[in-house]
Amino acid sequence: MAPLELHEKVLVSPDFLQTTHGEIACTECHGGNDVAADMNQAHSGIRADPTFPDATATCGQCHEEEARLAKTSLHYTLATYKPMVHQRADQAANQIKMLNQGMDNHCYGCHASCGECHVSRPNSAKGGFISGHNFNKTPDQTNQCTACHGSRVGNEFTGTTGSGDAHYTKHDMDCMACHSTRDLHGDGKSDHRDRYDVEGLSSCQDCHELDDKIEQHAIHGEKLSCYVCHAQPYANCYGCHVGLDDKGLAFYKNPDEEELFRIGRNPAPSPKRPEEWILVRRVPSVQTSFEFYGKDLLSNFDQLNNWKYASPHNIQRKTTQNRECNNCHGNEELFLTEDKVKPEMRKANKGVIVSKGMIPEKQEDAEPKKKTKKKSSYF
């Protein structure tokens, strides 16, 4: 994503003024003073983003449902962050307070408002109009979605790491082919466990039925998640640390990243995700992530597993592991065995760790079948 010059970020295109939204006075949405010629006077009291934290006043009179549901969208609330991190925290009130200070400084800038999906680049990526203030129906994958979901989803999807996702590279599908208003506009729930807990989140089965003519599909049925066979190695980060530098500016450090592929056990099969075998990813946070804000803030780090359900956006029909049965069967390297988990975290990851006895055995008679191609008649 090429950086924008400061003036480009705020240059309103004349054609915007002819649209439904552009005909509304600037001040209706942004406040400020539209008769003042001096910038500072004109800007006094403006709301740079009139759609955050609440879009009801600005958009709600015409888009009532969108404005109401936004309050239940994780893009607005980031509601899973604190409950999740707090489970790993020292529960003493002053410790929680210091931890919250750290989280408030570093985590809550990454929200997406109506404007950040329909009008401009997200503020966390330094803002700026996508198309001269026009309100676009369809968000822009590069300037909006992967401006935030870039280092993992974006890189894997477009092939910056690995060979990309066939949906994108071969079939020209972008984020919006699978993600729509159904998941992105909020689902009306207020108790999301995590981001996979969103009703209407995309699913492979929305579009594909398991085709049993394919031998591997027929044998394994729904015991394995699609990703186990169709994804490529994906980003695993660890060692994420946050703090403030000597100028008081927020920084983060996330120096350790590895492309890994790890098959684990599904610790909590559910009707939506019934499979027994899933991919797991190591999460970036560690016990010392918030150390800048206080000692031992995450003293209960091992209350939760740090290898978690993963859904890499790098789907391919043929992958290294599904090319031949024994690329997977008997291939211990692919599985999250105990030795690949730090000793102090083994207990917390018990539910996802694969014991050696569980790894499917080598298939003796599974040499690649020599296809005896029937000679087809040309006539």
Binding site: E5, L6, H7, V10, L11, V12, S13, P14, L17, A25, C26, T27, H30, G32, D34, V35, A36, A37, M39, A42, G150, S151, R152, A235, C237, C240, G243, L244, D245, K247, L249, A250, F251, Y252, K253, N254, P255, D256, E257
Partner: protein, 57 residues
């Protein structure tokens, strides 16, 4: 109506329209004027991120 009156009425209307859309909003004036925005941009110190940030987000 004489055609001359018609024309002057039209003129008044056009002038009024121009006046309301141009004068009533200094916001529009400035935010559609590239040169002016460029000039102002030069005077604004760009916010910088911390130089200590390292690794991927």
């Amino acid at each position: 109506m004489h055609s001359r009156t018609k024309i002057s009425l039209l003129l008044v209307a056009v002038l009024l329209l121009a006046a309301t859309s141009a004068l009533a909003s200094q916001c529009v004036n400035c935010h559609t004027d590239v040169e002016k925005l460029k000039a102002i941009a030069k005077t604004i110190i760009k916010p910088v991120g911390s130089a200590e940030t390292a690794g991927k987000g």
